[in-house]
């Protein structure tokens, strides 16, 4: 029995999340990876992958085209499951593949067992749901940062995708890569430092602190609405959901909508002047104080520890 995973390819790189999909897939059966950029083949040997299907005549950025590829693979190979990363386009690909193959779909899974039972965390982390798709193939979108990657190296066999794909109906006029800088991507980062209304628009000290930890920088809705930080960095119900090892909420009071996007982080630290801010209810460590003195002091202390 095989499980098909969709390789996450961005900016000429195989994203780390691909290794997580391979790790989950290997719990169930043989792992077949679907890859669009052939140049990335060598990077796949870092993960436990048995076979790679290379697709050349389709656009990896078009959910409609990728769904056609995956559904043809479902028809030919009858895999037990298709695993994709639970991102905006990942979920759209999963959605369209589910329709094309008449398969059940689960999104935002944070764990996957060998019997295909998924775990999801809902209502901002208040409840854990265990569910299972009943159709012969399960389409499952899994959030990144859900598992430690199995780094067993492999030398996968290669197969060429031979189906024909009809072009998607949308025209992409231009793509501007998300500004990456030197910081990790928000949903993939193991440490996230976020700022809110308390920053009063000055993210400088917080960015310096984030950089000392190699962290991604996020923001609350209050901060993005005020134009202090890009909307693409918003963490919360209507922004991104993150689940890092460490989440540091700086000057964020912690409304339900913000907590929905970060509550399942493994460790939560909060810095806020208001001792009654709801963020302290879910923080493992809270500092009641002025972020403009606490954060620079913390940055200096971390830098002092580094050789």
């Amino acid at each position: 029995m095989s499980v098909v995973i969709l390789v996450d390819e961005f900016d000429g790189k195989v994203a780390r999340s691909t290794g997580e999909l391979a790790t989950f897939a290997a719990r169930i059966g043989d792992v077949t990876a679907v890859l669009f950029d052939e140049n990335l083949l060598p990077q796949l040997s870092e993960f436990c992958i048995d076979k790679v299907i290379v697709v050349s005549d389709a656009n990896r950025n078009s959910p409609a085209e990728v769904a056609q590829v995956l559904s043809q693979i479902v028809k030919e190979k009858s895999p037990k499951a298709i695993l994709v990363t639970s991102t905006i386009t990942g979920k759209e690909i999963a959605a369209r593949t589910a329709i094309r193959t008449n398969s059940g779909i689960i999104t935002d899974a944070i764990d996957l067992a060998s019997d295909l039972t998924t775990t999801q965390s809902i209502f901002g982390g208040a409840l854990i749901v265990k569910a299972r798709v009943q159709s012969s193939c399960a389409i499952i979108a899994i959030r990144s940062n859900s598992v430690d990657i199995d780094v067993t190296k492999s030398s996968p066999g290669i197969e060429r995708f031979s189906g024909s794909i009809s072009e998607s109906l949308e025209r992409v006029l231009s793509v501007e890569m998300a500004a990456k800088g030197n910081r990790p991507e928000l949903t993939e980062a193991t440490i996230v430092v976020s700022g809110g209304a308390g920053t009063k628009g000055d993210f400088g000290p917080l960015e310096e602190f984030a950089d000392s930890l190699g962290a991604a920088v996020g923001a609350s809705r209050a901060a993005t609405d005020a134009g202090w930080y890009p909307h693409s960095s918003q963490v919360g119900q209507t922004g991104k959901t993150v689940r890092p090892q460490l989440y540091v909420a700086v000057g964020i009071s912690g409304a339900i909508q913000h907590r929905a996007g970060m509550q399942t982080s493994k460790l939560i630290i909060a810095v806020n002047t208001d001792a009654d801010a709801p963020i302290f209810d879910i923080a493992d460590f809270g500092v009641v104080g002025d972020l403009f003195s606490v954060i620079p002091q913390a940055t200096a202390a971390i830098k002092a520890k580094k050789p």
Binding site: S174, A178, E185, I302
Partner: protein, 269 residues
């Protein structure tokens, strides 16, 4: 131009949500129009207003905005809110056999209604605040064979050219994309600020057509209803184990150092 806006009634997102066995408790809490659908209604109204000889929506505009919803009969309350914002009419598909439907069934039912309505645009919010899967717009595009402009925080519609263009921000980057009608569009909350219904709007909404239809009435044959059975079974719903109470200190000049000491103790650094 005919615009359909897909909306959902959800438990109020400002109150704590609960489960009733294995489904979301929808009876014990206030049910409201999904917050995120209001942005889709607002955007539809703005498109019509920009292309109306009178500058306003309604029958004189030459355009029509229909709300489409699947849900229990009390979802008419959510639809009335959308009508009071300015939509022209609403259709609610309500059928006992749809209770517990998953996204596959929901998209099948919505697509059936949309396909029979001769629409140019379908507008959706990016997700419902209860299920939060964010898959319905892409599913509708797939089922209808239409283009999708999803998660667009900027949208330009050229009615004379039957053309839509939008800007979306995803993990790929910032994409500028376009498509010809018919198109499924989903819009996030940063696209606009939804209007509050006016008193006149609320009074007027009571006279606007709101039709409730069963599956049979929208043309589902009895044998196809079986296709609507959910493909996903929930085995267990467990409250998350309560978080042990964290440490809270008051900064007296050493807060930053204490924070770093905690990180060391937790082996984060």
């Amino acid at each position: 131009m005919k615009i359909a806006v897909c909306v959902k009634q959800v438990p109020d997102s400002w109150v704590e949500k609960k489960m009733d066995g294995q489904v979301i408790d929808r009876l014990g809490v206030d049910a409201v129009l999904n917050d995120l659908d209001e942005y889709a209604i607002e955007e539809a109204l703005r498109i019509v207003e920009a292309n109306s000889p009178t500058g306003s929506a309604g029958s004189e505009s030459g355009h029509e905005i229909s709300l489409i919803c699947m849900g229990p009969e009390r979802a008419t309350e959510a639809l009335r809110k959308g009508l009071s914002m300015g939509a022209d009419n609403a259709i609610l598909i309500s059928d006992p056999s749809l209770a517990g439907s998953d996204s596959l069934a929901t998209s099948l039912v919505l697509a059936k209604v949309i396909a029979s309505g001769n629409f140019d645009l379908v507008m959706c919010g990016t997700e419902s605040t209860d299920a939060r899967m964010s898959v319905i717009p892409a599913m509708l595009a797939e089922r209808l064979g239409w283009a999708q402009l999803t998660h667009v925080h900027k949208l330009d519609i050229d009615v004379s050219k039957s053309y839509a263009q939008g800007v979306r921000s995803t993990e790929i980057g910032i994409e500028n994309i376009s498509a010809d009608f018919p198109v499924v569009v989903s819009v996030p909350d940063k696209i606009n600020v939804p209007r509050y219904p006016t008193f006149k709007g609320i009074m007027g909404s009571k006279k606007k057509p709101l039709i409730i239809k069963t599956l049979d009435e929208i043309g589902f044959a009895a044998e196809t209803v079986g296709m609507l059975a959910p493909w996903t079974a929930v085995n267990d719903v467990i409250p998350r184990p309560p978080k042990s109470k964290g440490i809270k200190i008051v900064d007296t000049g050493n807060g930053g150092n204490e924070l770093v000491a905690f990180l060391e103790e937790q082996r984060v650094i």
